[in-house]
Symmetry: C2
Subunit: 337 residues, 2 copies
Amino acid sequence: MTTQPKTANITADDVAIAAGVSRWTVNRAFKKDASISPKTRDKVMKIAEEMGYIPDLRAASLASDRSNLVALLVDDFSNPHKLVMLERLTTAMRSRGWDTLLVNTLDANDTAPALMHASRRRVDASILIGLQFDDDVLETVQKAHNIKKLIIFARRSEQENTISICVDDRQATLEIANYVADKGYKKPFYVAGPRTTSAHLSRKETFAEYWSNTFGTDVQSLAVGAYDSILATNAVQTRFANVPSDGLPDILVCENDAIAMGAIDAVRHHLGLRVPEDIAVFGFDDVPQGASPNYRLSTYRQPMTDMANYLVDVLESNDTTNMDRQFIGTLIIRESA
Amino acid sequence: MTTQPKTANITADDVAIAAGVSRWTVNRAFKKDASISPKTRDKVMKIAEEMGYIPDLRAASLASDRSNLVALLVDDFSNPHKLVMLERLTTAMRSRGWDTLLVNTLDANDTAPALMHASRRRVDASILIGLQFDDDVLETVQKAHNIKKLIIFARRSEQENTISICVDDRQATLEIANYVADKGYKKPFYVAGPRTTSAHLSRKETFAEYWSNTFGTDVQSLAVGAYDSILATNAVQTRFANVPSDGLPDILVCENDAIAMGAIDAVRHHLGLRVPEDIAVFGFDDVPQGASPNYRLSTYRQPMTDMANYLVDVLESNDTTNMDRQFIGTLIIRESA
DNA sequence: AAATATGTTGCACGCGTGTGCAAAAGTCGT
DNA sequence: ACGACTTTTGCACACGCGTGCAACATATTT
């Protein structure tokens, strides 16, 4: 970059003078539903364009106490589903005038600092997307800082003063369990993700409950340390490496696709078995990679676009009491189960 | 969310009064290298903490003309490598005090509007990460708006007034070509991504040039419409579906891993051949998924962390002429080639 | 103890815009 | 052409903090 032509930043005042109107009229021209005549707006916009004027949102935000900025805290970049979420959220938000401050939560203890940091930019809301935020942390954070809106996305939270937008986990899990039972699987095994101290019933527990109620048998399970395929592969491999074939499950029901794909890899490449003939696998999320002919993963799709749009509704509403909402997704059946 | 306790926003003035110092001293306490005695700083910080004071970066930015905000424009969320980049970039930036404004470039024509939109927040720099930004667009954008720093990340650009931070494509491709030749492959085929109007030699051209110079034979190729595995699978399948086996290549050299993984799927599941015995596959980027036992993808790793750190160096430097830089990565050899 | 160096604190002014209201200009019917 | 509307425009004040310098306080030297 060479030096700019020393153009002392152009303000609305400059444009106003050039256009022969007041500064306020200039800013009105840029404001969507402002009361201004089309004629003057055109004139102002044209001159503004020529002069290269761009309204300063810092000043606007300072004066209006609304930033139109939303912090998006992400704590786990290894799950490809995050990319889908990011895409859907940013699309929905930007198309409706909301900007995204992407905050990488470095580790589990960084949630509070990260949230506080975002507050320095006076974000209108903070969105938590990811699962390491357990309810304890939220409580602490919520008390300490005056967060305007705290939205938990794609995860259930019972926390007070928090808006949770997610899929109905219970319903989803029951649909999956139903499918698994209908297809005649007898020995399901649940592969869960990292334990969170969330208050509500986890997918694993819902599944186990259903199975126990229906067949009177317990469902065994294991927990992977993170939503990461490689870790899942290792976990599944070590868990079943020395298990005789009649002790193996006939289906691995996984908490999400990242784990499910890792599980498939383990079944095929470490246990030397076939999917789904020997062991079937079921996922959750419907990540694009799951559609690959390698995986053909049966899974459950969350209505991400609807959820993202609803999130913007929440951003735009003033009274956000009771705006928690659970969405219903759809079973995606491919060949893995 | 219930209504907050109507706490009219706490400012430095409030803290100053409570602490018996001037407002400026309060802000100094929050400023890293400010000239302030440890004693007063502690006192101020303690009171600020109690009162829940959080400095307002909008006002700070307005007054200082430095926002410490960087726009990150992303135009393609289907390539899992983006997730890696996002993670590395945000980690490097946040750890050194830079915030990220994530802007989803809705389509190819949205680059200019997106950049302009970011300017409204007076970002200190804009980073382009993704390949749909061709040089024509950049030129237009550059002229129209007073962008402070325009950084092209992970892609070469010859554009004036632009800082390009990327891997040395030529060197990388030559390393790959060398490896392919050394291993005795005779009939390589190049699977490229979408064509960009970039001025410099593409990876495909470099590879073809090497092959032609070394063996005197041309390298055939095909271009996939996007860096997307599914599209790549389809493209490879249709290209080779009716080709007799002696007309098939012995290795597919791919422009990146997303395409390479799609190519592997096509070879195995549509052409019914083995990787690498019948057709080998080579990638680029080293995405985590490539390490899966399903793919065991041989590829080229870009030094993302170094590149991200260097990017922050650029953010922090005043004179950014001649800061273009090309990094050297490393060949990652697994079983796919 | 005075003189000098060093560290610490206070302040006038400016950064660029929104809010709510009042004044001015335009519209319409008769 | 007049009154009663409606639309459009202008404005005082506020938003919260940084800059650069001057004043003040404390530590160091002679």
